[in-house]
Symmetry: C2
Subunit: 217 residues, 2 copies
């Protein structure tokens, strides 16, 4: 059955790979699964046809036969459950890898999203400059804890997993701020993720869309 995902017609980041379709593309590339991409405009994302697929009017979505999913974490998990390469076979190791998926999305990403909000949505507010250090401090607290746990390991728990895919993707959002480079071990961890051939294919596919070339995904 054909897998079809949705992505921005034009990503707000201009092709830096920070839009969430990159996470799904990466998982599909790790799993060796071909996929098609349907591009949607900002206007179309808020219309009934897309809202039927994604109640919060976002991308990506995932369609495969009768199945329609939204929410990146869920889509990546669905792919990881059905194909080898993204979750360990052993039950306890698998549960721990899933733990890191949730930790990336519910513990590490929220303070990072607050930084995006502070800069993009509230950048012109009178409190923007004075408030920013508080937001950054909350991110640093999480990164201190994360780098302490990672130590000098390559990945968060044994071999590369969907947990690493999600954590690397979340941390990538920090790169434009310069904060990631304050943590050399986390910067190296992210670089290891980006060096994976599957990541490179995913990145190139989203870049081709945003550079105006047809998607090869």
């Amino acid at each position: 059955m054909t897998i079809t995902i949705t992505a921005f017609e034009r990503s707000p980041d201009g092709g830096k790979g920070l839009a969430r379709d990159t996470r799904v593309r990466w998982a599909l590339e790790e799993a060796g699964q071909p996929y098609e991409v349907r591009l949607v405009s900002f206007r179309a994302m808020k219309e009934p046809e897309h809202l039927a697929l994604h109640p919060f009017g976002q991308i990506p979505t995932y369609e495969e036969g009768e199945l329609a999913l939204f929410e990146t974490g869920s889509i990546v998990f669905h792919i990881a459950e059905r194909h080898p390469g993204l979750l360990p076979d052993e039950a306890n190791a698998r549960a721990r890898a899933i733990t890191w998926m949730f930790a990336a999305l519910n513990t590490v990403e929220p303070p990072i999203l607050e930084l995006v909000t502070a800069k993009v949505l509230e950048g012109d507010k009178p409190w923007a400059k004075e408030r920013l250090p508080l937001v950054v401090e909350r991110i640093r607290n999480r990164l201190n804890q994360l780098s302490a746990r990672l130590g000098d390991a390559d990945w968060l728990d044994g071999a590369f997993s969907a947990g690493d895919l999600m954590m690397v993707s979340v941390l990538l959002r920090l790169r434009p701020s310069g904060i990631l480079n304050e943590y050399p071990s986390l910067a190296a961890y992210v670089a290891r993720g980006e060096a994976r051939p599957a990541y490179k294919r995913a990145f190139d596919a989203q870049l081709a869309v945003n550079a105006g070339k047809p998607s090869t995904g």
Copy 2:
């Protein structure tokens, strides 16, 4: 094997059930699984012994034989995968229920956590009063979308699932603000969750801890 979770020795909410151990207790009660509770103080949560279990120094954690997990979403999913009552059997319905778990934690909870941050951590800042309406507006955007999807259904997708357990738990955090009551269908949805016998047992068990009585969990 005995299941042991951790919870606050004294919850910051004084027993309103908003601490995240309530979500895990609820899942265990839905699954009919007995469990033990180890209470931890704020000080102990930041010490090496607890950080070995939970790298971000939070509660709850979950221990069962050799397995140690953190992150509420992952723990609830682990319980839901192993016991009937929290995930549908049919594969596509199961994937959609998991989607709602991730949607609760990664799309609906982050703006709600921003409100907690705005009130608790930044309540004394000079921008607090002027900024609050922006934070509330972002929550309302999500609730508008969520209530549109729920419509007049009892639960988000067919029968009650771990997705509803998580969404109800996330929405409960809004009750003190009064925002939840602006959405009668969502308030009724949350009330249906609270009316479940398993939720009541979970709520009572955390209340007993915070009222200073021994846990019966």
